[in-house]
Amino acid sequence: MNNVIEARGLTKRYKRTVAVDNIDLEIPSGRIVGLIGPNGAGKTSALKAILGLATYEGELSVLGKNPSRDRAELMEDVCFIADVAVLPRWIRVWQLIELTEKIHPRFSREKCLQYLDSTKITLDHRVKQLSKGMVVQLHLAIVMAIDVKLLVLDEPTLGLDILFRKQFYTNLLNDYFDEERTIIITTHQVEEIEHILSDLIFIQDGRIALDCSMEEVQDSYVELIVTPDNAAAARELQPLYERELFGRHIFLYQSADREQLKNLGELHTPSVADLFVATMNGGAA
């Protein structure tokens, strides 16, 4: 089985609201997937279902296991960082390492210590003595020392400064990721992960608004920048979305004829952030 995650009709209801609404999803291995959506779109609910932290309706298989029934077993092959600062505050670094080593069969103490060497964290520190950024470094050191097939990062860099954020993703990409592994990331700072993603999933109101690879994004979406004179002509060609910047009009097209567009103005590959805004406001895919 090549798919790390397979979902059919995945639904998560809370008392009144439907957080995840009948989603079908297939994530193959060796991908870095950005799960992107506005607040309350159902990202965290979907991830909780995938991690066996919440009940759900529909079919869901993660690495061939049923997450709600076999969470403990699943966690031998899955790791997650759910938000910053979820490490227990009372614990000392050496205790955390010892516990993880005893509980996790795929944890390598050497690797973990090696990552920690490059930080200011010592084994005798308590988590509550560490700064927010250091807690994330510690958590990442633990997670990167665990040899798992799926890593889920839910807002892993929330509230950190840009230096930490850059370092975080650099470490992840250089020292951790390979073809055997799959990483799912949710974040609001789309620009920062754009260049490392291989796949993109937009989620809106509990539904998937877009699910494609980054190559597909480059192939099928194009952004056209025109002067006001050409705006009307560009509007004729059924853009997904239009916005104005410094007096120029920017149009986003899906599967458009590039030759035709070229005559009207400059062509660009849209950024994920622009594509996201367009999708959320207009409805692509």
Partner: protein, 315 residues
């Protein structure tokens, strides 16, 4: 097994203050009191002029009686503070056991480890039933030994023989064994309470103490009220049931009834069980119908707690 040991360690590390520091402090207080007794003895206004006279007087009392007094003191009097504090420690430990990590959201980390919720719950219950009592017991025994060593040294300098005076009599090993057995028997007897506390801990959105105490109080008051409305008499209600159950718990007490000092197992309110302090009587309680009902109640509480824990993420 390795995982269970790791989880037990985690509970110990997290609760080091309650599980280890607290009994050490109590032991320290005992030792300081013993030293103060020795140092200030000569300043007390009493019938003995000096420790030497006291030691001589003690040596002339009946050895059998002295042995019995030492045994009772070792088994029931000296451990009192340890017993009381232990029950508070266990109570609040269990009340926070499935609540604290939901509150500080570290449950999201614990759940990212491949340890099942059943194992986690088990490690917490085992910490309350076994780890905490055994640590308290060991530190009590250690305290007793230190105090006896101090007394022996003092008595030796006074020219008396500590062995015949108190060391060789009173069978300390039997007292310690009975005390430990009583701790463990109590832990089993008290299972419904432990189950209830863990259940509350797993669902309380905040202030678990309130959720632990309020429902039984409300139920008991309703019972008393309805009962009274119907019959204008007061019969057994939840308070009564809990009170009787608690009184029958196999803990060792020293009490004076009808001017007769006595060692009793539990509080002799009813004669459902014999209150003589013997291992057989402890076992009698643990293999009784009451215990069977208690286990059924515990299973419901713990089962619900586990069900909630499996669904819990953060509060």
């Amino acid at each position: 097994m390795n995982r269970l040991i790791a989880l037990l360690k985690r509970e110990f590390w997290e609760n080091k203050g309650a599980f280890r520091t607290t009994p050490l402090v109590i032991g320290g207080i005992y030792i300081v009191l013993a030293l103060m007794f020795i140092i200030t003895f000569n300043h007390f206004d009493n019938e003995f002029q000096s420790l030497k006279e006291l030691a001589r007087w003690v040596s002339q009392t009946d050895a059998t009686l002295r042995g019995e007094i030492i045994y009772v003191a070792n088994l029931a009097l000296l451990p009192t503070l340890f017993n009381t504090v232990l029950s508070f420690v266990v109570f609040f430990y269990l009340l926070g056991s499935l609540y604290d990590d939901r509150k500080d959201r570290s449950i999201l980390f614990w759940k990212s480890l491949p340890a099942s919720d059943t194992l986690t719950l088990g490690s917490k219950l085992l910490s309350a039933m076994l780890v905490a009592p055994v640590i308290f017991w060991a530190i009590y025994v250690l305290t007793y030994i230190v105090i006896m060593a101090i007394f022996s040294a003092v008595v030796l300098t006074l020219g008396e023989n500590p062995w015949t005076l108190f060391l060789g009599i009173g069978n300390p090993f039997k007292a310690w064994g009975m005390l430990l057995l009583s701790y463990l028997a109590q832990a089993i007897w008290t299972l419904p309470l432990y189950g209830w506390l863990m259940l509350v801990s797993s669902f309380a959105p905040r202030i678990p103490l309130l959720f632990a105490i309020l429902p039984p109080v409300v139920i008991a008051i309703l019972q008393i009220w309805i009962e009274f409305l119907q019959t204008f008499t007061l019969k057994k209600n939840l308070f009564g049931v809990i009170g009787e159950w608690f009184a029958n718990s196999p803990f060792i007490t020293f009490s004076v009834t009808d001017n007769e000092p006595a060692l009793t197992l539990g509080i002799p309110l009813t004669d459902t069980f014999s209150h003589e302090v013997t291992v057989a009587n402890m076992l009698d309680r643990l293999f009784s119908t009451q215990m069977l009902i208690s286990l059924a109640v515990t299973a419901v509480f713990l089962g619900t707690a586990l069900w909630l824990r499996r669904r819990a993420t953060e509060s």
